[in-house]
């Protein structure tokens, strides 16, 4: 059974490998984003040594590692799921003896692993050579970081699945998907670390799952979070993962009951 799921990871990985143009242009997109934000933050810092507790070096590392982590956790499962719901192919998928949502998650994972190996690793090496990125020397920090971006992937994918499943209940969830994408980029801390938000903003963020996607793992990687705080950050991720399972299961159950495929 598990072998079947693993097969989905493998196939998606190979599919990604086949579309090479997208791969090259993806590398350029990430290089441009990192480069532009690097200069933007340099201008923001000006002569200041540190802002919101981030030194310039930490900020550079933060920008680089956040975009690299995004390469791993990012996927378009929301769009894939809602397309399959709208064109009705989800009905065929439901008749198979495997869990549809697990299949989707595995496909997303295949995509993530592809980008991790062929994107994130070379990208990080390049960024380290070009900018003043300081990599952690402590091996435990590396291990914790990789565990944390695994949870980033899980939580981000859960949000994508939730957004995608809305296609069962509304005619058009296009706007919802676009909003989710914008919100995740802003509130997860890719564009600006949560520490820069005003106090009330941070208080709100503490109660939302978005910071678990980028801000927490990147803070651990840059060394802003250390000691027992690291385990605390990891715990927040685990809790959010567990909490988000509930609405997905509920939605999936009621969706199966109300599914009717248009046309045919």
């Amino acid at each position: 059974m598990n072998a079947a799921y693993f097969e989905f990871v493998r196939i998606r990985f190979l599919t990604m490998l086949a579309y090479r143009v997208n791969y090259y242009s993806g590398i350029i997109v990430y290089a441009i984003n990192i480069g532009a934000y690097y200069f933007l933050w340099k201008a923001i810092y000006g002569d200041a040594g540190s802002l919101a507790g981030f030194t310039v070096e930490q900020m550079t590392t933060y920008v680089a590692v956040s975009w690299m982590a995004r390469a791993f956790y990012f996927n378009n499962l929301d769009r894939e799921i809602s397309n399959e719901i709208r064109d009705g192919s989800v009905a065929v998928q439901m008749t198979r003896p495997i869990n549809y949502l697990m299949v989707k998650m595995m496909q997303g994972f295949g995509e993530g692993v592809f980008r991790l190996l062929l994107f994130m690793v070379p990208g990080m090496i390049l960024a380290t050579l070009l900018f003043h990125v300081t990599l952690p020397s402590d091996p435990v920090r590396w291990i914790v970081f990789f565990v944390m971006i695994w949870f980033s992937f899980l939580i981000n994918t859960q949000l994508n699945i939730l957004t995608g499943l809305f296609a069962f209940f509304v005619e058009n969830n296009e706007g919802l998907m676009r909003m989710k994408r914008v919100l995740v980029d802003l509130l997860s801390g890719v564009i600006v670390p949560i520490a820069f938000f005003p106090a009330w903003g941070r208080a709100v963020m503490d109660w939302l799952p978005f910071q678990a996607i980028t801000y927490l793992p990147s803070s651990v990687f840059t060394g802003r979070t250390s000691g027992t705080e690291t385990w605390h950050a990891l715990l927040i991720q685990v809790v959010w993962f567990a909490v988000l399972v509930v609405p997905i299961v509920l939605m999936w159950r009621s969706a199966r009951r109300r599914l009717f495929v248009q046309g045919g």
């Binding site: 532009a36 200069f39 201008a43 000006g46 919101a52 706007g175 914008v182 600006v192 820069f196």
Partner: protein
């Protein structure tokens, strides 16, 4: 002859808009969802600017209101552009699925038809919001207001819109020559968003790229420099309509040549 042809295309434009309105009124919720998600996107960009300026008084030598002013201008141009040029899936829909054949059997210019079939008026709402943002920043900066400013603004926005339009038409027209350059358009979209900040903060290479190679800086900071007294640079500002005409000319030229080469998708 030429003038009557323009009149003809304009008449078509009215018909297409009327048709668009009919379709959209059937799905009213979609219209508002799109408006709201456009505005949310702009809001997050503005939030970024506000958050950053809580920690620093200036960005390079640009103040918060000046950066917001540039962003307001960017929103105006971006809104008008997205309303009329919506070629994101041109290669997919017209070349691979073969709808180009249908377009070519009709008498109006192929580009005009493709653009009209994809008009997206909701984007104009963000132009209005951009105008409001720019106006607020204008008042905050205490900039002088001359009688010719509205006219200059119109010319500048037209120039900026022509730049975007020209570049995206060129990219869409690549589909006539090679198959599926799917990766290029999102790539452009990423680069384009860097025009919304003053390019002076970037290093020399990126600045050159955004000014003379992919002139996205003319959709934002340079035209805004006509109005911003502290950064006034009339020459670069007036380059906006010039670059706009050049970009649009290139776009149209590549398109026309591409259409001649077009052989259909087969089958």
């Amino acid at each position: 002859m030429r003038l009557s042809r323009l009149g003809y295309t304009f008449g078509l434009f009215k018909e297409y808009i009327a048709n668009y309105a009919k379709v959209k009124l059937t799905y009213r919720a979609d219209f508002w969802v799109e408006v709201v998600s456009d505005l949310l996107f702009s809001l997050t960009n503005l939030l970024f600017i506000f958050i950053v300026f809580q920690h620093t008084p200036t960005l390079g030598d640009w103040s918060e209101s000046e950066v917001v002013f540039v962003y307001g201008y960017f929103m105006i141009a971006q809104g008008v552009f997205s309303a009329f040029t919506n070629l994101w899936n041109f290669g997919d829909r017209y070349i691979i699925k073969g709808e180009m054949d249908r377009v070519l059997t009709r008498p109006a210019h192929s580009l005009a038809q493709v653009m009209l079939e994809n008009v997206d008026p909701p984007s104009l709402v963000s132009s209005l919001v951009g105008l409001g943002i720019m106006g607020t920043a204008w008042a905050k900066l205490g900039l002088a207001f001359d009688w010719y400013d509205p006219f200059v603004l119109i010319v500048m926005v037209l120039g900026s819109v022509l730049i975007y339009t020209g570049i995206y038409i060129t990219l869409a027209a690549i589909s006539f020559y090679s198959d599926a350059p799917t990766g290029i358009i999102p790539l452009m979209y990423n680069i384009q968003s860097y025009g919304r900040y003053p390019v002076q903060i970037y290093n020399r290479g990126i600045r050159f790229l955004l000014t003379w190679v992919l002139p996205f800086a003319f959709v934002g900071v340079y035209p805004a420099m006509f109005f911003l007294e502290a950064h006034r640079n009339v020459f670069m500002a007036w380059m906006t309509p010039v670059v706009g005409l050049i970009a649009a000319g290139i776009g149209l030229g590549v398109w026309n040549r591409g259409v001649k080469r077009y052989r259909g998708a087969g089958s």
